[in-house]
């Protein structure tokens, strides 16, 4: 038996995931396909947001969805009604999508449509504020939703999600008149956690804010295509 040796490697624990995420991004870039990772707690309104967004977006851009869900295909079934390519990814016990799952989703998408024909890929992550933002999937931008029924303090309680987001959508703002909710306090907590994030207030009932959200997406697609 020899004496112990210490091998200093300084390697990211998530190196395997990051490596696959990098490969996914290269693939997406080769297809000239912008990818958004949509994240939130369960029930913040991701699927409804996508339904309404895709209705409008489809007039101008070709879209597809990778739909992450722990145990069902319910959300994917809703989105398939919009006649766009939707690939369900059932994560089982996993509380987030990872780069390998998205790689599998991309392979299934390639069987449904030539991704060269697409402009944007929307990936709906599993509803969870704790860890999805820690697992890169190869996305170009992260979008976090936060519904006002969740409380003003969530950016402080789940800072990694809101720190990592490029855009934060404050959803269900049509409920503001009925709740004891201070939207300025929420915005202040968002700015404290992530001073650089774009923030849009939005309602899937009144569609207020949808023009800003659609504009945000359109600009990102056009900038990406013209890079």
């Amino acid at each position: 038996m020899h004496l112990p040796i210490s091998d200093k490697i300084e390697l990211n624990i998530l190196h395997q995931n990051s490596h696959q995420a990098y490969k996914n991004k290269v693939k997406l870039n080769n297809y000239n396909l912008l990818c958004l990772n949509i994240m939130s707690s369960p029930g913040a309104g991701k699927t409804r947001l996508l339904e309404l967004t895709l209705e409008d977006l489809s007039k101008e851009f070709q879209s597809a969805v990778l739909e992450g869900d722990m145990t069902t295909n319910l959300d994917a079934t809703r989105l398939e009604k919009l006649n766009i390519p939707v690939v369900p990814i059932t994560t089982g016990r996993a509380c987030h999508l990872d780069a390998n799952m998205v790689n599998g989703g991309l392979k299934l998408l390639e069987k449904k449509i030539n991704p060269d024909l697409l402009d944007i890929l929307l990936v709906e992550n599993v509803g969870n504020l704790v860890c999805p933002a820690e697992f890169e999937i190869g996305e170009h931008f992260k979008v976090a939703l936060l519904s006002i029924t969740e409380g003003e303090d969530k950016p402080l309680k789940y800072p990694i999600m809101f720190r990592e987001a490029d855009l934060i959508l404050i959803t269900k703002v049509d409920l503001l008149p009925y709740l004891n909710f201070d939207i300025n306090e929420l915005k202040s907590n968002i700015t404290s956690t992530n001073p650089n994030a774009d923030v849009i207030e939005i309602s899937s009932i009144t569609k207020s804010g949808f023009n800003l959200w659609q504009d945000w997406i359109s600009k990102k697609i056009l900038k990406f295509k013209n890079k």
């Binding site: 624990i13 509380c95 987030h96 800072p159 001073p195």
Partner: protein, 118 residues
């Protein structure tokens, strides 16, 4: 239970590392991790998950040691470093500025591996 997936990634990285060392000829004693305070990892959960995952495997006798790296930010007004607190909205105590720059606390690293040759 994202620690399960963290553990899976960790074991895959260990496999990759061991292949270069000739896995059959080494015994890993300790895996030294650096985990930042500003991550979603609960160190005890990661250790417990790892211990359960490696039972009966080539890493069965190895131990996880975690060094916690403090969450530290830098005030963008006066450049002083500080320890952001959620009670204070992560703002700098010196100038009450928002958290722009994170100096440390996002680490999720395998720092080093202590092993013996058989």
């Amino acid at each position: 239970m994202h620690e399960v997936d963290m553990t899976k990634c960790l074991i895959l990285s260990m496999e990759e590392w061991a292949e270069k060392k000739n896995k059959e000829k080494i015994i890993v004693e300790k895996i030294n991790l650096k985990i930042g305070e500003f991550t979603c990892v609960e160190p005890i959960s990661l250790i417990n998950t790892f211990n359960a995952a490696v039972l009966g495997s080539w890493l069965d006798s190895s131990e996880i040691k975690i060094e916690t790296i403090p969450f530290e930010g830098k005030c963008s007004k006066c450049n002083r470093s500080y320890f952001p607190k959620k009670e204070n909205g992560y703002k700098s105590p010196c100038c009450n500025f928002n958290l722009e720059e994170i100096i440390s606390g996002r680490e999720l690293k395998i720092a080093s591996i202590d092993f013996k040759e058989k």
